[in-house]
Point group: C2
Chain length 166, copies 2
């Protein structure tokens, strides 16, 4: 089981975008440079985040990305589902129904016990991700910061933040 | 995020092997036929389950697979980790340390807040899988069975179970 790199990049980008001032945006290129990742690859994820209503895209030469909601209203689950899609990790292919002697159809009116147990685990995973917001992450970050993390963020914003027309 | 097909096949195989009588084994070919899957693909997973101490391999022309432990001592987590490997789904590539202006090293003595939150969710997922054993799955199956599932299993065992030398 593996989550794509896009999840890590997307969560970090949403966290960085939380630091924008009112009316400010960041370009995909600036976000990619800050994180040392490829712009074209990152763009795909930023578009997925926009599609899911997590980011807002401001078009034009002074455009870029900003949050579409408050950091406390964006959970890690929102970001994971936006980037990875909503399909559960366990995909039941109903192998009970294959083979030369499949079970009669009356047994397939509900998911098999194995699929049900795997989905219970996925619900626990999603509930935990849903309980952590970007605001929670930022509060934990700030509690661990002796000033260096904030200073790095400020220096970056000063250099790259664009004031988009609203 | 996606689990491979091997997880579904492996859990079903372990459940079927729970129905063997003492000293009995099933060949990989019989398990593959029962589930309508490729023998060569299934063999890879059966070997992983043996490697993890979940199955026992009896060599020879009358050989095959049987459980290495009781069904109540095999959890869904044991099977998932045997087949998919132990690495967590979220793999932190420490993008905080990339880019032209990485944070100083003193911030990297513990996992970042994002990696920590993602791993909390993975722990919840694993705890749920660890709490369900193959014996639990079989008890649920049996509660839903009006006789048809047991009859199918018995007919299969009658045809394919081998009595291996112990």
């Amino acid at each position: 089981m593996k989550l794509g790199d896009g999840v890590e990049q997307s969560i970090h980008c949403v966290a960085v975008l939380s630091g924008l001032s009112a009316g400010g945006v960041l370009s995909a290129a600036a976000l990619a440079e800050f994180h040392g990742v490829s712009t074209s690859y990152l763009l795909k994820h930023l578009q997925a985040l926009s599609g899911a209503g997590i980011l807002e895209t401001v078009p034009g030469p002074k455009g870029g990305y900003r949050l579409a909601k408050k950091p406390e209203d964006i959970s890690l689950l929102d970001i994971v589902l936006a980037v990875e899609g909503p399909t559960p990790a366990f995909r039941c292919s109903e192998i009970r129904q294959r083979g030369p002697n499949p079970l009669p159809q009356r047994y397939f009116t509900k998911p098999c016990q194995i699929a049900a147990a795997m989905l219970r685990a996925e619900r626990a995973y999603r509930a935990e991700l849903a309980s952590t917001s970007i605001a929670d992450i930022l509060a934990e970050l700030s509690a661990d910061d002796d000033g260096g993390i904030a200073a790095r963020g400020c220096a970056f914003m000063e250099m790259h933040e664009r004031k988009a027309a609203r």
